[in-house]
Subunit: 405 residues, 2 copies
């Protein structure tokens, strides 16, 4: 018995039948004596549908208003589950972001949680209510609706679990847990029993669609045990926790790839101090997250600068950079949306050498050209041509012994 | 130049193309130097669609949660119009019910407005924003979302116009104004240039779908001039205002009919003091509005009691009354959903006699049996078999000289 936060993703609430399934699952936990807070995403496809609707009205929807629109998706599922639970004679109430006091900054479309009041959640739990919170949304200090970005419901769930000091945050999704690679790409992918916050964070940021990265940051910071599991089976999933010795003996835990990236290159920029800031500053101001950055060695006082961004921001970023390129006297600017990033991750890397070299040679063996490289303590990533993404994942999965884990 | 509240109904915002049309209309008013506040309904059909969705989850959706669900409809259109106006370079912002401080009581599904703060609306107007407010919704003092019942966006509009002391509240709809009868039923119906608040209130409550009755109550109480007009034409519509001499010379201004009624009869009730309260009390407590009530003269210490309610509440009311009938020892209970109410309305009735008699004889001439009768100072209504509704409207329209107004 304890306090459990259960988060269900879009495929788990895709229609009334599945919502009934979620209700049964929630009620089972509740009937075991647990206090239960449920966080829901919008029905699968609804958020994209709303974005399409907005685009029928205007090409570049205002971000504040888009958040007002998108927030209806989770409002819908939260209301539906709460009314279903009530009709099953369980005390229940839905709360929207502002009602749960999920206070964020003002970065519409990609807001960060500043604090969670959760007064009403606590009061309702005390009365043994099953509280259903609309995920993905919050409000800024002025009461404007904000959304937390793609996969934001995971962050809602973990942040609320942290605020409530929940015993576990269960993330129900359409996969069985976290795998060594995407099973759709690599048939030999294995489900991991546990994974460290750091590894999960790297993998989340690299395109493993299981958990949003911010949710893992939150989980790590507040030490919230996260259980990633399937809403369609009873199987135990993957626990995301602090690392233990077992974990450190494995060099590479997972291979991931992401196609949601785009590259922008600005050529022959006069190489003066502060030029990178001039190029990347406006991107940051627009709330666009730059991932990799490469600045080529200078020749004749000129340099080329290449960086990658989420492909969803490509159009806006190109608009910004065309203006900047003119202002700083660059020769040319071009972009590429047909790139992919493949990465290997593992806390064991810290104590092993030659991991990157092994990765490069595995890719070379398949004749895959590496365009950009970045590394962290527990990760190596390479940008390659998009069409090689799946091949690269399989090759690396094999090279690092994950096929036979 | 002044402050104009413009309200657009569901058909006026039914799709992105129509929302663009609304935007052009709004901008024209704004460009003439007016301050403009826009109140929107949900897209036509959306509210019904959401109710259907709820019913796929549970037969009798909890009212608080249904309001959370329904509120998404107006949230959607408000966000879309605001983002469109912004993309047209007009300063604009959407506000939801709670953000506009539309405070209501706790009657979920049919809440009454208690007060409107409108602080943010005023601030935004001062900065020359076009403020787009989601109609139909408010919040109770605890911050729960409420909705105002069918046609509630009209009430939102008039109440906000009253709070802002607007010069006029323009209600844009899919008809040209208020007619002497429904033009779909009676080809000879004529558009009225003006109508008094009282007449409009009677007609609204009687099934003229032009304006929600509470909106007219509000308009009367705060003396808000309401202009009912078409969003698809430039024609002047009908002004709803305080009565003047012209109006009083016309005996009957309009003939209306409503099929959204149902009748419940409880027979052979032991006739003790307080029995009507026992029967009707629980209906009121459930927030169901009883319209007509007839109690037959007592025979053998028993009486029959018949009353009408909105057909949307029929099922719930029958459930309640079956229980009550058992408790009070009634013989039988039955209901009829196939009834209609036809009514004649006019402030001129106050100074003319024989109006009711003329109505009864006009119906008798068509062999239409009258089941129940109610009257007010400026209205006479009869319940008849549903199938005669249209015939009755045409007969009365002719009998009171409206065919040749």
């Amino acid at each position: 018995m304890g306090l459990i936060v259960m988060k269900f993703g879009g495929t788990s609430v895709a229609n009334p039948e599945r919502i009934r399934h979620v209700a049964r699952r929630v009620v089972r936990s509740y009937d075991q004596g647990n206090n239960v807070v449920v966080i829901l995403s919008a029905m699968a496809g609804v958020t994209d549908g709303l974005i399409q609707l907005a685009k029928q009205v205007t090409d570049l929807p205002d971000k504040r208003e888009l958040d007002v629109l998108l927030a209806t998706g989770e409002q819908t599922t939260a209301a539906l589950l709460a009314m279903l639970l009530k009709s099953m004679k369980y005390p229940s109430m839905s709360l929207l972001g502002y009602q749960a006091e999920v206070v964020t900054d003002k970065t519409f479309g990609n807001a960060r949680i500043l604090e969670i009041g959760a007064t009403r959640i606590r009061d309702l739990i005390r009365e043994r209510h099953i509280v259903v919170v609309a995920g993905f949304q919050g409000c800024d200090p002025d009461g404007n609706i904000t959304t937390l970005g793609r996969g934001g419901s995971d962050t809602s769930a973990v942040a609320i679990a942290a605020a409530l000091k929940a015993d576990v945050c269960e993330i129900y999704t359409d996969v069985e847990g976290v795998y060594t690679a995407d099973p759709n790409v690599c048939k030999k992918a294995k489900k991991l029993k546990k994974i460290s916050y750091d590894e999960m964070m790297e993998m989340a940021s690299l395109g493993a669609k299981v958990l949003q990265i911010r949710s893992v940051e939150f989980a790590k910071r507040y030490n919230v045990p996260v259980h990633v599991r399937s809403s369609f089976s009873e199987e135990e999933g993957t626990m995301v926790i602090n690392p233990d010795k077992d974990m450190e003996s494995i060099v590479v835990t997972g291979v991931t790839s992401s196609k949601n990236e785009a590259r922008i290159t600005i050529t022959k920029v006069p190489d003066k101090p502060g030029i990178a800031a001039k190029i990347l500053g406006p991107i940051g101001e627009a709330g666009i997250v730059v991932d990799m950055i490469i600045q080529n060695p200078e020749t004749d006082g000129k340099t080329d600068l290449t960086f990658t961004i989420p492909s969803g921001n490509y159009r806006e970023a190109m608009q910004i950079e065309k203006r900047v390129a003119g202002e700083i006297g660059a020769e040319d600017i071009f972009g590429d949306e047909n790139i992919a990033k493949v990465s290997i991750t593992g806390v064991g890397m810290r104590s092993h050498s030659g991991v990157a070299a092994k990765m490069f040679s595995a890719l070379a063996k398949e004749n895959i050209n590496i365009q950009m490289i970045t590394t962290s303590e527990i990760r190596v990533s390479c940008v390659i041509e998009e069409k090689y993404a799946e091949l690269a994942v399989r090759a690396l999965h094999k090279a690092f012994g994950l096929d036979h884990l």
